[in-house]
Symmetry: C2
Subunit: 247 residues, 2 copies
DNA sequence: CGATAGTTTGACACAGCTCAATAGGCGTGG
DNA sequence: CCACGCCTATTGAGCTGTGTCAAACTATCG
């Protein structure tokens, strides 16, 4: 869907020569593209293509050579690592309008999968690198996002290393509520959202088993902290109660 | 010791106007200062001071306002986070010539402590920011180091979430061997080093208890994988065997 | 309506935690 | 030089939270 091609760029449009592809794009505001001048957007858009993939689609293989980077326009992407014997750990979730890729390395050390339906705007590594050399502001944004991800990763290390199963699940629900639910931003007390991950995925994110995750969720439900419909839709009545349980 | 002042800068020295303070400094080669031109070094050196602190010294408090950044010249610094009830997790170890600080934020969300004797070269936040605006190359190095730290953090998430106690301890020994032992770089089979952390610290790094760490170490010793002297000095006879045990 | 994938629930086992006692290393002061 | 105290590390015994294995349940979809 919306398989726009890089070369469908109209310079004669009102908005100061911004490629049509980019006009309605969220990444142009909060994402890294916000750092770019119209001409640089045009430059980048030459190698750009959008695509939409279904849940479960593998986007990047662990240890694969990566030639294209992308912005996430919607959906949730999971980043994971695997031990030789198959044990898996999700090391990060990415939401729109995050940038997906590892500058300065051509091999990925992570696997990336679509957790939900995901739309992406991808562009070639070389195009990004070219623009990066010209734009101090782009580098700055990349640095900021990377620092943010490092903060998140370290927060999660505390969760993985020191929290109980119950606290882990509460922390996870909070993370999702804060990143997905459009309402919880306004009304700070309640939140309602679809879980983007299966129980198995949640377990891999929390360093638990799927059974333990399920038990903790039903415990929260029976205690009235959350409500669950169809196993996937969660309503949190009192976010503060969840915060208290997250440690 | 070596409490050199920022203003002891001699521009008439041979080496192209590089501050004396920086002449023998490792950070000028492998650290972020390597990105700077002599004039920029001079600029930064104006607010620079070196100091040496003992093991256990707190360098940065969690949630404190930070006005100075630093390069680590020698020693090991631990970065940690704490839960309200006191549970602690070490979220990273930093070695020379790492940069210590969080650009774009004036509050630290991490606590930093000297694990060993540490020497630091510190400079004001504002001075670094000024130089950063002028040096694309400095930003690039900062981005590179941050990406590296993010990779490390994610590797460790796999360790925390999915490895057994035994694998965790083996992973830790490998991490230290690779970062501290000067010899293991040449001779890939053996390594010998002082542990920079107490058993309690190691436990906080691995998400275990100090007793479990101790038991795993004695297990490795009795199996002949390592040798321990004075509880602190470790010799690894066959690094490959350790790698195998790290998962 | 059967098949498939995801989820819940139960019973039991065990890795790692807790609590407690002992041992070693090292500096200080008699 | 030994004795003492302090800190860190080791070792032991028992407990418990979470993992394992297995079965049943639910939702979705051709």
């Amino acid at each position: 869907m919306a398989s726009a091609l890089g070369n469908c760029v109209r310079r004669d449009i009102h908005s100061d020569g911004i490629p049509v592809l980019c006009l309605a794009c969220e990444a142009r505001h909060k994402g890294i593209c916000g750092a770019l001048q119209p001409e640089q957007l045009v430059q980048l858009a030459k190698s750009t293509s959008k695509r939409k993939v279904g849940p479960g689609t593998q986007l990047v293989d662990e240890e694969a050579v990566v030639e294209r980077y992308a912005n996430i326009l919607s959906g949730v992407v999971k980043l994971s690592k695997t031990l030789p014997d198959g044990r898996q750990q999700i090391v990060g979730l990415q939401f729109a309008p995050d940038f997906l890729g590892r500058p300065f390395e051509n091999e990925s050390r992570l696997r990336a999968d679509a957790a939900t339906t995901v739309s992406l705007c991808s562009f070639s590594r070389s195009a990004l690198e070219r623009v990066m050399n010209e734009s101090q502001e782009l580098q700055r944004r990349l640095l900021k996002q990377t620092l943010k991800q490092l903060d998140d990763a370290r927060d999660w290390m505390l969760t993985l290393g020191r929290k109980t199963a119950s606290e882990k699940v509460a922390s996870f629900l909070l993370l999702i509520a804060r990143n997905i639910d459009p309402y919880s931003a306004h009304d700070r007390k309640t939140a309602s959202f679809d879980l983007p991950l299966t129980r198995g995925d949640i377990a891999d994110f929390l360093g638990l088993t799927l059974e333990t995750v399920s038990r903790q969720l039903t415990k929260f439900r029976s205690e009235g902290v959350i409500q669950i419909e169809n196993a996937r839709h969660v309503t949190v009545h009192d976010l503060d109660r969840l915060v208290a349980r997250a440690g």
